[in-house]
Amino acid sequence: MKKILTIINREYSTRVRKKSFLLMSIIGPILFAAMMIVPTWMSQMDDTEEKIIAVADSSHLFLNAFPETNYLKFEYLPDADLNKYKGEFNESPYYAVLYISQVITYSPNAVHLYSDKSPSLSVRMHISNAIEKKLERDKLKAYNIDENVLNAVKTSISIRSVKLTKSGEENENNFTLNMIIGYLVGFMIYFTIFFSGAQVMRGVIEEKTSRIIEIIISSVKPFQLMMGKILGVGLVSLTQFAIWGVLTMVLYTAVAPMIMPDVAQMGKEMQVENLLDAGSTLQPQQPINDKLESEVTMMLASVGNINFGVIIFSFLFFFFGGFFLYGAMFAAIGSAVDAEADTQQFMIPVTIPLVLSMVVMFQTVQNPESQMSFWFSIIPFTSPIVMMARIPFGVPIEEIFLSAFLLIITFILFTWLAGKVYRTGILMYGKKTSWKEMWKWIRYKN
């Protein structure tokens, strides 16, 4: 046991001290924060440049029909001679020329936007909305329907799902938020298994090619070395997660208020209300945020209802379970080859279930209760990723236990098999290993 600790210590400290680890630790959260912040920021950036769109309207229906924003202006051209405007476009001050043909009322393809740039989606949406609205209004008039009546008939529904737990508590949860969390944790496990698995494999190949292996296994059992390596690399990933988590939070709280003052403000309000609420969890949840209707605020409102304890605990379990299972396979592959270039043929059977998990996960975050999600979250090779994607939505405890139990059994079996391959493989040089050979190694007594 002491020897395993010594091995873990080496595997851990040599990796943590590497420049690449430091770089990943810093760049990781910047990337994560950027993923959250930049899209919002970009959408705001887009509108700050004033654009004038010339409207050449042959149908004569749309004079002054386009609402103007701070940055988007419309100029209605006196005549609809499109060719003339197209010809003079480069000298004109216009961002784009909007051409509406006479047949607009019955042909949806009658609108063209000419520009030397690619008009953004928001600009196009703005224009098409305005046209649709105008046409709609005109058509309603033609049918003699009052617009006010129509508005009164329109109803907007947003569903807020409330989970009924067995103990009779009600937890409001937000599907979109669960989806984001499920996707995030699933992806993190996927990424780490691949990344760290490859590190384990490379570590084994390094020991083999540098020929230090025989010196080490004259002091420790090959199995101890293999487990020490897998554990050490696993802890490195865990450290990386922790650093990322903390830095992302810091960055997000520091930068977000500057860029998205409204959202951050709402978030704070919700946090306060949730804190107040937390003291009385047994009471039915009050609809605390009737006044704030947007999806974002609803999401933030249910952040407090997510059981982070369960998510973090199961993340740790499924991460280590999955990583042990795949890490052992990666170690066995590393032991069977002389160079990383030879790993291809053995990588495929390991890669397929991982990639499959990823594909299933995309479905799972949209439909966590489906048959496919259920089975793939039980089968050990895909369960670490798929089950993690399901957990934020709430999974019956017996399903989690079944999945966890099968995962433990499988990783014990595979670690044992991998240990046998590893033990023989690390001392084999120069011969190209086949599957048949590996099977023989497994059956060797010692």
Binding site: K3, T14, I212, E214, I216, S218, S219
Partner: protein, 309 residues
């Protein structure tokens, strides 16, 4: 007492038999040479002693009792295929390997300091292994092997990759270790070093032990009872007096100096031959032809191979 006794070891790999009924006794406090051509099974036997692999049949005794997993702490092993982590610093790496052999960090550091000073390699402590030459790395490996002061040391081709100066340094260290009471298994196919340092040997060929015993006994057994003589004088005279009683195997003349090789039967005395020759010619040298270990090795291995065919 024997530090290692291997009894009737068999080891089968997928397609070939690596060891067939091999038994060896390694005496305590001696240097035991494990000899044999490439691929004979030496390394397999050593790996079995180190418990890297286990024998299919046969048992191993360590100081008279069955070998246990903890005994590896009492063995130092320098494998033939040896290397170090290239990107790790020398000192740190040496401490790591020493700790795997059960030394505490402090013990490892103080012992390493001693040996690094002795070998005059302190400046390497903070260098990465990849900055060292192969010979330098070998020195570090040697230190790491003996650092925990085990009772049994196993060297597999220890001198490969060393220049003559460092070979001598290492040889002296090995002899010093033996004087301190350490038992040593020395595996090689370099016969010159065997004669210099080994007390006993075992010769393995094609997975079987074909010869073992004390070096002087083996040499005596293989000595051919023939003599070589260099003299100045007339060959015809010699021929007349010698050929009547003895068998001349070889004669070479270079100007007026002659080389003569004579074979004696068991009953004949070398002094009788010398006495006869002394009367006729001026003798400059006279000695018994003793086979080198190299000769014995080649002879035994060839005979064994012929037998196989």
């Amino acid at each position: 007492m024997n530090i290692i006794e291997a009894k009737s070891i068999h080891k089968q790999f997928a397609n070939h038999k690596a060891l067939k009924n091999v038994s060896i006794d390694v005496p305590e406090g001696k240097i035991f040479g494990l000899l044999g051509p490439n691929g004979a099974g030496k390394t397999t036997l050593i790996r079995i002693v180190n418990q890297i692999t286990a024998p299919d049949i046969g048992e191993l005794m360590f100081k008279g009792r069955a070998l246990t997993p903890d005994d590896v702490l009492n063995i130092g092993y320098l494998p033939e295929e040896r290397g170090l982590y290239k990107k790790m610093k020398v000192g740190e790496q040496a401490i790591y390997l020493a700790r795997l052999k059960g030394l505490s960090r402090n013990d490892a550091v103080s012992k390493l300091k001693f040996w690094f000073e002795k070998f005059e390699i302190e400046p390497w402590w903070n260098k990465k292994v990849q900055e060292l030459s192969k010979g330098m790395q070998q020195k570090v490996q040697f230190i790491v092997t003996i650092l925990h002061e085990p009772e049994l040391l196993i060297f597999d081709e220890p001198f490969s990759g060393f220049d003559p100066i460092n070979t001598k340094l290492l040889k002296n260290e090995i002899l010093t270790l033996k004087e301190k009471g350490t038992s040593i298994i020395f595996s090689t196919h370099n016969m010159g070093s065997v004669e210099e340092i080994c007390d006993e040997i075992a010769l393995i060929n094609q997975s079987e032990k074909i010869l073992d015993g004390k070096v002087e006994d083996i040499k005596a057994k293989f000595s051919s009872n023939s003599y070589e003589c260099n003299y100045i004088g007339d060959y015809n005279k010699i021929q007349q007096v010698v050929e009547s009683d003895f068998e001349i195997i070889k004669h070479i003349q270079n100007h007026n100096t002659h080389y003569l090789k004579v074979s004696l039967t068991d009953k004949q005395k070398d002094n009788a031959l010398l006495a006869k020759m002394m009367n006729e010619v001026t003798i400059s040298s006279f000695n018994q032809v003793v086979p080198t270990m190299d000769d014995i090795f080649i002879k035994v291995v060839n005979e064994d191979s012929v037998k196989e065919i």
